[in-house]
């Protein structure tokens, strides 16, 4: 009986939101980001002869997963999050890539913005066809700049003794962390348990 279990998970997430005082609207907004994907899946599912129960299950699963991710994202800063992922066994190279994305995304956007301003200062409208060529140049330029920055960053890394195998850093757990893990396991056991009892 999936509704039961969903209710338990939902309650647990609500508890986490209250505990960490995560802004509810932010969690909702991020959860709803999954809607377009869900819609596509539902359209395809409606095509094939999927039973309504399964569809309901699908919707619940998608929304709950997205909500759980949203709670995690809203409640945790990015740096400890990637450290945690490294600790959980995500390869060091991927961890590095994630952290670089976080570090340089803003810089790249700012660079694109500056480029756009520089273009707009000398662009007075019209000649739409030519604009595609300009846009292509800008995108190519942005790519080159990012690429060259990547080279320089890598040089800076090597100069400070970087080699591809870096070990995950030791993470210390405080009492709240431990309680969170234990409660999460508890909820899992509870939900699977109720499902089990229901069947008999």
């Amino acid at each position: 009986m999936p509704l039961w279990r969903s209710a338990i998970y939902l309650l647990y997430l609500a508890g986490l939101i209250m505990l960490f005082q995560a802004p509810l609207w932010k969690v909702c907004k991020r959860t709803l980001l999954v809607l377009p994907f869900l819609l596509v899946v539902l359209v395809f599912a409606a095509w094939s002869a999927t039973s309504p129960e399964r569809l309901l299950l699908l919707v619940q699963k998608a929304l709950l997963s997205a909500a759980a991710l949203a709670v995690l994202g809203v409640g945790t800063d990015f740096p400890p999050l990637i450290k945690g992922l490294h600790r959980l066994g995500l390869p060091g190279t991927l961890v590095m890539m994630l952290s670089f994305m976080y570090r340089y995304l803003e810089l790249l956007l700012a660079e694109a913005k500056r480029m756009e301003i520089a273009r707009n200062q000398r662009y007075f409208g019209g000649r739409y066809l030519q604009q595609f060529r300009v846009l292509g140049n800008m995108i190519g330029n942005l790519f080159l700049r990012a690429f060259e920055r990547g080279e320089r960053v890598y040089q800076a890394m090597v100069l400070r003794g970087y080699s591809a195998q870096s070990k995950p850093e030791k993470v210390t757990y405080n009492i709240v962390d431990k309680l969170t893990v234990v409660s999460a396991l508890g909820v899992l056991v509870l939900s699977v348990g109720t499902e089990f009892l229901w069947r008999f």
């Binding site: 570090r103 340089y104 320089r152 960053v153 800076a156 400070r160 003794g161 870096s166």
Partner: protein, 223 residues
């Protein structure tokens, strides 16, 4: 023995552009040297060669393991600072040196103190101001405790106050430094000697009062 000996260094980029030609000089321990020259004279290339990023022709001799002895600080701190938090970035080098956790923590603390940024550990790198980034970038190298600092335009884009503070920090480290710059006043203030590059060649080397030889400076188009 000199800390660094450079003998007949030449470097040619992949596009055949000759960036350095027969450059020779020495740096003693604790000595600060201003590296001057017009844009494109080869200053940055020379620093990259000395740091070991580029592989030039000629001889570079360092008293000690080069990667531990020489520390390069890039001109753009956004190239230097690539980790998400200040602590992680300053700890990056010491961590790679294989130091124990506690020692790494100590080094980070000390380096941040040196650059007047004590307590910055948890700050996010991309939220720092430009002046802060410059200082933290220096800290990332100081944390590795090099003997020779290679600084690429350390004062560019700093306001007068930050510039003054930054010069004091460099002086207080009491480490040898090769400083590529257009800031002649800085060279007068904190350097012992100057090296002048012109189109990849070392044309003048000597004491800082060379900078007061106006005829020479005009001839080299440096003023």
């Amino acid at each position: 023995m000199a800390l660094l000996v450079v003998d007949k260094l030449s470097y040619r980029y992949a596009d055949e552009r000759q960036a350095l030609k027969d450059v020779s000089f020495e740096i003693q321990r604790g000595e600060r040297i201003g590296l001057i020259g017009l844009n494109g004279a080869g200053k940055s290339t020379l620093l990259l060669c000395l740091a070991g990023v580029l592989k030039p022709q000629g001889r570079i001799e360092v008293d000690g393991d080069r990667r531990r002895t020489v520390g390069l600080v890039f001109q753009d701190p956004n190239d230097q600072l690539f980790m998400t938090t200040v602590y992680d970035d300053v700890a990056f080098g010491p961590h790679n040196l294989g130091l124990a956790m506690e020692e790494v923590r100590l080094r980070v603390e000390k380096a941040l103190q040196l650059v007047d940024a004590a307590g910055f550990e948890e700050r996010l790198t991309h939220h720092l101001s430009f002046g802060e980034k410059k200082r933290i970038a220096l800290a990332t190298v100081l944390a590795m405790q090099p003997e020779l600092l290679l600084l690429d335009e350390p004062t560019s884009n700093l306001d007068p106050k930050r510039r003054r503070e930054f010069l004091k920090i460099i002086q207080d480290t009491e480490k040898a430094a090769l400083i590529a710059t257009h800031d002649l006043d800085m060279v007068r203030q904190i350097c012992d000697r100057v090296i002048i590059l012109q189109a990849g060649r070392l044309v003048v080397e000597g004491r800082i009062d060379l900078l007061d030889d106006l005829d020479l400076m005009r001839q080299l188009e440096l003023i």
